[in-house]
Amino acid sequence: MNILAAHKVTKRFGGLVAVDALDFTIPQGSIVSLIGPNGAGKTTFFNCITGFYRPEDGSLFFNDVSLTALRPDQITAMGIARTYQNIRLFANMTVMENVLVGQHTRLKTGMLGAILRSPRARQEEAEALEKAQEMLRFVGLAGRGDWMAKNLPYGDQRRLEIARALASKPTRLRDALGLTILLIEHHMRVVMGISDRVTVLDYGVQIAEGTPAEIQGNPRVIEAYLGRGAASGLGQKTAVVAAAA
């Protein structure tokens, strides 16, 4: 069963067709990578999924629910979280607060509960804190909870972003193996190492699709994207992760 299905999604900028009638699916529980040369339309497609762009054409379904008319926050509420290519943290909030905000859709305390600090609100808060701690441990930021996010070095900011994205999941981390991930990365060792399937885009069109091994050997992909010395892992910090329940 596919958790995400895109059908003929098209997004244009003026004369430029950034995503061109793209068909794309992500099976439940899998890790799918989206790669392609710079400017191929990966981020644009991603923005269409998360509601930042409205595609001109085509349809997007998440668990068979159409996403096309929803706001980004509603899409998140359905269980899609993301990170950004240019890191976007809440710079003036602490590391811990960033992760707590990540849990926003999962928590329920409203105005009244917050003001009165009802027992339920208090318990929820305690659980949220605990979960946040766990997330931070997971990405290796334990003990940094009270740092300002903007003071982290670049690499750690990336980790925090991932922790924030993971936090929106209702389950605890150890149950999170069922996570479905859409990854955009230029770091081939990562991509090839963890992906179940890889899709290659070029000029907004899919040029290849398959298992990592198939992709690595595909001459079109080597030509357009990987280059000759492809095998060597290339250090990149530009993960874009979609985690879905």
Binding site: P72, D73, Q74, A81, M93, E97, H104, A121, S168
Partner: protein, 516 residues
């Protein structure tokens, strides 16, 4: 090079001095100093000010010299003094010649009264007076230069100019305070003690202080409300006064004998005022909260003005009393007693503050507060983590408006009057200022800010006509010295201090005062 810099300093301070004369600050200094020391003449005070600025010019000039030898120091001081003296002497000569020629200088520059001029010229002829001024000011510049040299031997000067610490950190660093904070029930004791003091407060204050502090208290509630909107949610609202006005007009219309004669009970009106103000917040919010940043600022400013103009307009005169406002606004009663004096109002206000602080504090440290903060930091991403920003903005707006409505109700009822003049743009600006002066996002900061903002002008009353001038200057100064506010939230303080130092202040870095 040095000469150029020094003469620039001289000119600059000379110009400042000239401005003081034109502003009549010399006269003011004369009166004040004369008052303190029971002098009959205003001359000493006036000259003290002039000399002080001239000396400062000398000091500044020397500070510009990289590594001052004695000669360099003297030259810098002399140059600054000469330029300073020239500036003043020429102006003085010009003014007194014009006066002698019968020109009506005062038609344009009102502070140049014959008396004020006499303070400077001692009644001498223009040339003689100018010469005297020149000599004295040059000497003062030199004195300034020498003073720098002399004081360099003493390190105390440097400790004085150490970086800013806040009242809060200083207070918290006191050993006694540290000790206390480590005790078990320190929080509860603190709260209890504070409350107890607040309860006895109105007894010891007289009518005037009950009234004045009551006003401060009303501004505290206003500030707490705006703090949610601006400090937490990051929505710049320059028309906050509108909700204050709505609260005030509601209590006035519903309790006053005229124009409608409804005369409802005060206690019934309080919730009505709060709810209607909140409702107004939502109604205004729905169309405008989609706008970002400063668009919101100007739109809200407009809204505030609209409410004020409408309330005094001919169109609504029958409803709001027009420019004359509404009088005999009802006050609270309790079991048949009238409790509407300043004294009882103080209790209502204290209660209001405690409630408002409680609400804000709890909101701040909750899911709601975090959502606000996230929205303030980056609206797109906030939306992407699942925050429905419009809803949260409305929530902030409505909460803020409710608090403003509440203080409006108290305000009008306590004054027994309300009218459009009470709801000018200045009120919105004042409340914003107090939130930021206190330290944005900080609850005790609001209290500190309100005390300063409403208290300062009262204190400055002895400066008479100069009080708003001084107030303006103090606002700037306060922001420069303490941009994080008087009592900042821990977060703010962190943010700011890092930023200031991180920027490395290229400016200061290159000047010899703060070399590496």
């Amino acid at each position: 090079m040095n000469v150029r810099l020094a003469s620039r300093e001289g000119l600059l301070t000379g110009f400042i001095n000239l401005c003081c004369i034109l502003l009549g600050l010399t006269g003011l200094a004369g009166t004040m100093v004369g008052g303190w020391f029971h002098l009959s003449s205003r001359q000493p005070g006036a000259w003290l000010l002039l000399l002080g600025i001239a000396v400062w010019g000398g000091v500044r000039a020397v500070r510009r010299v990289p590594d001052p030898s004695r000669n360099k120091t003297l030259i810098a001081g002399l140059v600054a003094g000469v330029m300073h003296g020239l500036t003043l002497a020429v102006s003085l000569w010009l003014i007194s010649t014009l006066l002698d020629a019968g020109a009506e200088v005062r038609k344009w520059l009102v502070q140049l009264t014959p008396e004020a001029i006499r303070l400077l010229t001692f009644g001498l002829s223009p040339v003689a007076a100018a010469a005297l001024m020149f000599v004295v000011m040059t000497t003062a510049g030199l004195v300034g230069a020498l003073w720098v040299r002399a004081s360099e031997r003493y390190p105390w000067q440097r400790t004085l100019s150490k970086g800013p610490t806040t009242v809060r950190t200083r207070f918290l660093a006191l050993p006694a305070v540290q000790n206390f904070m480590q005790r078990k029930h320190s929080q509860q004791i603190l709260w209890g003690g504070g409350l107890l003091i607040l309860l006895f407060f109105p007894f010891v204050l007289g009518q005037y202080w009950n009234y004045t502090l009551g006003t401060v208290g009303i501004y505290v509630i206003l500030g707490l409300g705006l703090n949610i909107v601006v400090g937490f949610a990051g929505l710049l609202d320059l028309g906050y006064v509108a909700f204050f006005a709505i609260g005030a007009y509601i209590v006035a219309i519903l309790t006053a004998p005229a124009p409608h004669g409804i005369m409802m009970n005060f206690w019934l009106v309080v919730p009505i005022g709060i709810v209607l103000a909140a409702l107004a917040g939502v109604l205004l919010g729905i169309p405008v909260l989609r706008m970002r940043g400063d668009y919101l600022a100007i739109v809200t400013l407009g809204f505030g003005e609209i409410i004020r103009i409408l309330s005094k307009s001919d169109a609504l005169t029958d409803f709001t009393g027009g420019p004359r406002g509404i009088r005999s606004v009802g006050g609270p009663g309790l079991f048949g007693f009238d409790v509407s004096s300043e004294f009882y109002f103080m209790y209502i206000i204290i209660l209001g503050i405690v409630l408002a602080a409680y609400v804000t504090l709890h909101l701040q440290q909750s899911r709601v507060g975090r959502a606000w903060m996230a929205m303030r930091e980056d609206e797109d991403v906030a939306q992407a983590v699942g925050i429905y920003t419009l809803q949260y903005k409305l929530l902030a707006f409505a909460t803020g408006a409710a608090l403003a409505g509440f203080s409006g109700v108290i305000f009008a009822s306590r004054n027994k009057f309300t009218g459009p003049e009470d709801f000018t743009l200045l009120v919105s600006i004042n409340v914003l200022c107090l939130v930021i002066i206190g330290g944005m996002g900080s609850i005790p900061g609001v209290v500190a800010g309100a005390l300063v903002l409403k208290g300062l002008p009262e204190i400055l009353r002895q400066l008479a006509d100069y009080r708003m001038l001084a107030f303006g200057a103090l606002l700037i100064l306060m922001m420069i010295v303490r941009p994080e506010g008087l009592w900042p939230s821990t977060r703010r303080q962190m943010e700011l201090h890092e930023r200031a130092e991180q920027s490395g202040e290229p400016d200061a870095g290159s000047s010899p005062e703060t070399g590496p």
